[in-house]
């Protein structure tokens, strides 16, 4: 087992004392999400998401395979979130049975795959014999907390950006048209889930938390690595722009008042809206940059409005 990161007692006291005084080490407010930077690569479906020092790379790829026997009309979709020591020495290569790794991959799985964010029926080519298998490979490059949030954004931007080669079918004969021959087709993305993680700290003792009425627990959004290591509990809310809760996971940890948790959900919605808009803008800018001939080829005249 790889060694856990340990924080000196003095530093952990300092961080918690700061939180008690409404301060965070990176001078953010408690409900402030780090600014998200989305970079798109030259290829379709190549995304790097940076949130503060956290850096996640996601690559979407597709191949043709046979669909599952019990679901002949559906394509395949996998998400792999494997860690390597690159993100930090606390991660072990190829070992994904650690508690946090399992929770992270399960939450991404529920948020994106099980919620039907990708239209898998649209991946079917010939029912029962041929379909697309889409893979999202998430690579954690640098760890400073918020892996779940960053990788969810990375996967969703990747899926929205990715284009698969066009195919034409005549009978059982399937032709794949290379990208330079025919314009590739985008994937069917049905909604864009965004994960927002909250971290809870208990400034009082355990008795006050469980029996007390004060609800003095501290709740912060988008913790950094240090805050993540010191927190008493966590909650990850996944929402989309349609005001739907896609997934909520508070797997134990510090007991929190139900109303506080509801408040968290509402705060998360605002962040979800902002990030969804940002994603759309990034994709739009990329599309216009790629299609530099659009203005020349267009027969539309500029109109005075």
């Amino acid at each position: 087992m790889a060694k856990e990161v340990e924080i000196p007692a003095a530093e952990s006291k300092f961080v918690i004392e700061c939180l008690r005084q409404n301060l965070r080490l990176d001078s953010r407010k408690f409900d402030e999400f780090r600014s998200v930077e989305i970079e798109l690569g030259d290829d379709y479906g190549d995304v790097t998401v940076t949130m503060g020092k956290t850096k996640v790379h996601c690559r979407i790829s597709c191949t043709i395979t046979q669909p599952y026997e019990d679901r002949p009309f559906e394509g395949l979709f996998f998400i792999s979130t494997e860690t390597s020591p690159m993100a930090g020495p606390q991660f072990e290569n190829g070992n994904n049975t650690g508690e946090d790794e399992v929770l992270c991959s399960r939450i991404i799985e529920k948020a994106v795959r099980r919620s039907g964010a990708l239209d898998v029926e649209g991946l079917c080519i010939v029912a029962g014999s041929k379909c697309w298998a889409v893979r999202a490979d998430v690579h954690f490059l640098n760890c400073d907390g918020g892996f779940i949030d960053a990788s969810c954004i990375a996967v969703m931007v990747g899926l929205l950006h990715f284009k698969k080669p066009d195919v034409s079918v005549s009978g059982e004969q399937v032709t794949i048209h290379p990208v330079d021959e025919r314009e590739p087709v985008p994937l069917g993305v049905l909604h864009v889930p965004i994960c927002v993680s909250f971290s809870f700290f208990n400034p009082e003792d355990a008795e006050e938390n469980i029996k007390g009425e004060s609800n003095s627990e501290i709740c912060i959004i988008d913790a950094t690595l240090k805050e993540e290591l010191l927190r008493d509990g966590t909650l990850t809310v996944t929402l989309n722009k349609n005001r739907e809760v896609v997934q909520v996971s508070k797997a134990g940890g510090l007991p929190m008042d139900a109303l506080t948790l509801m408040e968290c959900c509402h705060k998360a919605y605002k962040i979800t809206e902002a990030i969804t808009d940002q994603i759309n803008n990034v994709l739009k800018a990329d599309a216009t940059a790629r299609n530099q001939y659009a203005a020349i080829l267009s027969s539309e005249n500029a109109r005075e409005s």
């Binding site: 790097t48 790379h57 020591p85 690159m86 290569n93 190829g94 893979r135 640098n142």
Partner: protein
């Protein structure tokens, strides 16, 4: 041809993002750290090399890359300075730049050069510098191309990769660390490739040296 940035990651001791043509890799070095019991070597530094592909899960292909990189790095590291310690070198391919199921030369080449810069960034002691270059031989007149593009690579008859240990500021070649050749070629072509690749390798070494110089200038501001 090569553009590199060092110190891109901050959870590790040394890192480097290197782009060579269409291929982009990111390399991290952590060490010397405490090894697991089974990795520990009583008298020298243990080395763990991890290569993670751009798409899909690590395969036998990545295992082969790991072994080849280990073969290049092991003789250069000053292993006896760090007994009972471990050095982790991780590579993440961000863009392969070649058909992954048939070739691995471009990735291997970029990985070796990235490893050099990341090792220097980490401060783990090296005995000398090293650099690598990949070469493809193309067409009926056996044209030798250094750092081929994807298209040239696919059309080529044979591909070669050469990694050299370079000493005294890039002036002296001390050792051959790796030669791998694939495809159809004659003895004559091989010798031509070697002499061409040797020159290119020294050029790359000088280029990397420049990158290191820049880095050091930025890291330490010497004031009179």
């Amino acid at each position: 041809m090569i553009s590199a940035q060092t110190g891109v990651l901050d959870q590790v001791d040394g890192s480097c993002k290197l782009q060579c043509g269409e291929t982009t890799v990111i390399c991290s070095v952590t060490g010397p750290i405490e090894p697991k019991a089974r990795q520990e070597l009583p008298s020298q530094l243990a080395l763990e090399v991890v290569v993670r592909p751009c798409k899909g899960v690590p395969n036998t292909r990545e295992k082969l890359l790991e072994d080849q990189i280990r073969g290049v790095v092991t003789p250069v590291l000053a292993k006896y300075l760090y007994p009972r310690q471990l050095c982790q070198i991780c590579f993440q391919i961000l863009e392969s730049g070649e058909p992954e199921d048939e070739y691995n030369v471009k990735e291997l080449n970029s990985c070796i050069n990235a490893a050099y810069l990341a090792l220097i960034d980490s401060g783990v002691a090296l005995q000398s510098s090293f650099s690598s270059v990949c070469v493809s031989v193309l067409g009926s007149n056996n044209e030798i191309l250094v750092n081929p593009t994807q298209e040239q690579l696919i059309k080529s008859d044979s591909t070669h990769i050469l990694a050299l240990e370079v000493g005294s500021g890039g002036k002296k070649i001390q050792n051959v660390l790796l030669i791998e050749s694939n495809g159809d070629f004659t003895e004559e072509i091989m010798f031509n490739v070697l002499s061409r690749a040797e020159k290119a390798c020294v050029e790359v070494a000088l280029e990397l040296r420049k990158a290191v110089e820049d880095k050091i200038k930025r890291d330490f501001i010497w004031k009179q």
